[in-house]
């Protein structure tokens, strides 16, 4: 009942408009009808049949109002423009130029975001898989403890972790001094990791920060998929004369694909939209698209352009996820 009232208020306040308003209205009418129906029929059977919808309603309503409705508003905003210079707020006018501007003016930022996020995803997979493997198959009774340890970095603030990396990679920091004592600067320069003797403010530092911050998101799903594997399958394949490598390649790896898929999404998507790492560890030459969106929205107050950029980001991410799903042969997106 409370949520029906809540929905009516939302409609009355013109919180949601357009197609969503109609959808919400339909939802409200069905729930009112359902409530009346239950009140009249009153049977246990009818109540049972309606129970799941009743349980779902509050949460789904919240998500509709504060996740779907905002996306709809932003879609409108991305096609809006200011009618005159004195208008504070832009109005809807099929302004497609916002999109062409987002794509042309910010092409480098889009490119960098997906490049950095892609490399970071690959790196998390390369270093995260062995750790997940060791915990799952060799962790023994320490499994839970080791998994807990992986979650520990989560419990310090994301910003503070990134600041700590700024500290570690700074010109007077420990990493640079170790590299200098080992005389590895030249190799690092050649690998384009260091730039003029500096680690901080390079693309490598940004990618390193992204890799670090999202690494647990790769390890945990891979662990979950590895843990389900029956060890006897590996023994069986060895009995059938495969080598350890063969057993891994033909048994373990295919069975852990769902974990790799989930982990890649959980790393790639937030990394592509991130701007904290680029801000703290990068330079103006490493700005990512998240940073530009935030700048257009909060500093330039150019809401239509920021909205168009957000939609382009969403579209590219969705497209790459679909391609990746096809490539991995996974149908289950969740």
């Amino acid at each position: 009942m409370v949520f029906v009232a809540f929905g009516v208020v939302a409609l009355a306040a013109e919180w949601v408009t357009g197609a969503l308003a109609i959808g919400l209205l339909a939802l409200l009418i069905t729930s009112v009808v359902a409530i009346i129906w239950v009140a009249i029929m009153g049977g246990l059977e009818t109540r049972r049949a309606l129970a799941p919808y009743g349980l779902l309603k509050p949460g789904i309503l919240w998500l509709s109002l504060f996740f779907l409705a905002p996306l709809w508003t932003m879609l409108e905003m991305s096609l809006s423009s200011k009618k005159s210079r004195f208008d504070f707020f832009p109005s809807f006018s099929w302004e497609w130029s916002n999109y062409s501007k987002a794509l042309t003016d910010f092409a480098p930022q889009f490119g960098r975001s997906f490049l950095y996020a892609g490399i970071a995803t690959l790196l998390t997979l390369l270093i995260g898989y062995p750790l997940a493997y060791v915990i799952a198959f060799r962790g023994g009774k320490y499994r839970t403890l080791l998994l807990g340890l992986i979650a520990v970095p989560f419990f310090t603030s994301y910003l503070i972790r990134t600041l700590a990396w700024q500290n570690l990679l700074s010109d007077s920091g420990p990493v640079v001094s170790v590299l200098e004592t080992l005389k590895l600067e030249n190799i690092m320069e050649w690998l384009h990791i260091m730039d003029n003797g500096r680690l901080i403010n390079t693309p490598a530092a940004v990618i390193g920060g992204l890799t670090y911050n999202f690494l647990p998101f790769m390890i945990l799903p891979i662990y979950v998929s590895l843990e389900k594997i029956d060890v006897r399958l590996m023994d069986a394949s060895m009995d059938l004369y495969t080598t350890a490598t063969g057993a891994f390649r033909r048994v373990v790896l295919p069975l852990s694909m769902p974990g790799i898929f989930a982990g890649s999404l959980l790393v790639f998507i937030p990394a592509a939209g991130d701007f904290v790492n680029a801000k703290f560890l990068g330079s103006p030459q490493t700005t990512m698209i998240g940073s530009s969106i935030q700048d257009q929205f909060l500093v330039q107050l150019n809401y239509p352009l920021a909205a168009a950029m957000s939609f382009v980001l969403m579209a590219i991410i969705t497209a790459s996820v679909l391609v990746y799903a096809k490539f991995m042969g996974t149908e289950d997106l969740a």
Binding site: A13, W15, L44, A51, P52, Y53, L55, L56, P58, G59, I60, W62, L63, F66, F67, A69, P70, L71, T73, M74, M77, I127, P130, L131, V134, L149, I150, A151, V152, P153, F155, T156, S157, Y158, L159, I160, R161, A164, W165, N167, L168, Y212, L215, A244, T245, L265, I269, P270, G273, D274, F275, G290, I293, Q294, F297, A307, L313, M314, L333, A334
Partner: protein, 276 residues
């Protein structure tokens, strides 16, 4: 198997273990740095260069008023939003795992969407909505934003936890004369409570830590991450590290406590099974 083959295999095992150990080290390097620098006696306003050991930061952790206030704001927001999100998310998880109904696939997909959208998009779109409806930014908008991503999180993690739950227990209680409501509160709820608490705890951590979505919807409200972000250009006091270490210790204590309770419960269960 030949001896050469054996030694090659041993070598491979060692290599994988070494990579795993190095990754563990990588995960903990900044954490060590944060804890270590909470004992630093910084020269100037930036706690960046090691300048000698001191306990004075720990002696007065709350001496930076804005920082402490921001932490209190974050705790308030996290508490309220977690409470709302846990109730809504638990209802969704129950509906999805308890009942078979039309449209559950669509609901599943709908739940995952907020989790797989970049935070900039979630934050900026919600802020666009608030702006266009003339709603002023503040504590309420931040809580609304946090609940939005927490609901999905609680629902998805809890649904995974209670997959395979034996719903016939509830049926048994009802056969013994309990009303459906009583059967739920006396039988099902106590059994799924640990899962609910775990999901709530993690979503609490998500809320305290959220920066990007909050940044768009906070207005003049300053949460802990926002304070750190704003301050990082002007000064980085060592108290940031002290408060971060406190949060870390607190959450590790809760986690270890949970592990101990769970293992004790497992032992009890095993014991009773052995007796049978």
């Amino acid at each position: 198997m030949t001896r050469a083959h054996d030694s090659k295999q041993k070598w491979g095992r060692g290599a994988i273990n070494a990579v795993a150990a190095a990754t563990m080290l990588y995960l903990f390097a900044p954490i060590v740095m944060i804890v270590l620098f909470s004992f630093n006696n910084p020269k100037g306003r930036f706690n960046i260069v090691w300048n000698g050991f001191t306990l004075k930061n720990w002696a007065n952790p709350f001496s930076h008023q804005e920082l402490t206030e921001a932490l209190v704001v974050s705790l308030k927001v996290a508490f309220l939003s977690t409470l709302i999100a846990t109730i809504l998310g638990t209802c969704i998880a129950l509906a999805l795992s308890r009942y078979k109904f039309k449209g559950s696939g669509a609901v599943n997909l709908f739940l995952v969407l907020p989790l797989t959208s970049p935070e900039v998009v979630l934050g900026s779109s919600l802020a666009t909505l608030f702006l266009s409806r003339g709603i002023s930014f503040g504590m309420v908008t931040v809580i609304i934003a946090h609940v939005m991503f927490q609901v999905s999180f609680v629902a998805v993690t809890l649904r995974a936890r209670i997959r395979g739950f034996d719903w016939s227990l509830e049926q048994a209680a009802m056969d013994l004369g309990a009303t459906p409501r009583r059967a739920f509160w006396k039988v099902t709820f106590p059994l799924i409570l640990p899962g609910i608490l775990a999901a709530a705890l993690l979503s609490f951590a998500l809320s305290i830590d959220d920066f990007i979505i909050t940044f768009f919807n906070a207005g003049s409200l300053v949460t802990f991450p926002l304070q750190i972000f704003g301050a990082s250009r002007v000064a980085i006091p060592a108290q940031i590290n002290v408060l971060a270490t406190m949060l870390l210790m607190g959450s590790i204590a809760i986690m270890v406590g949970g592990l101990i309770i769970e293992s004790r419960r497992n032992r009890l269960n095993n014991g009773s099974e052995a007796k049978r």
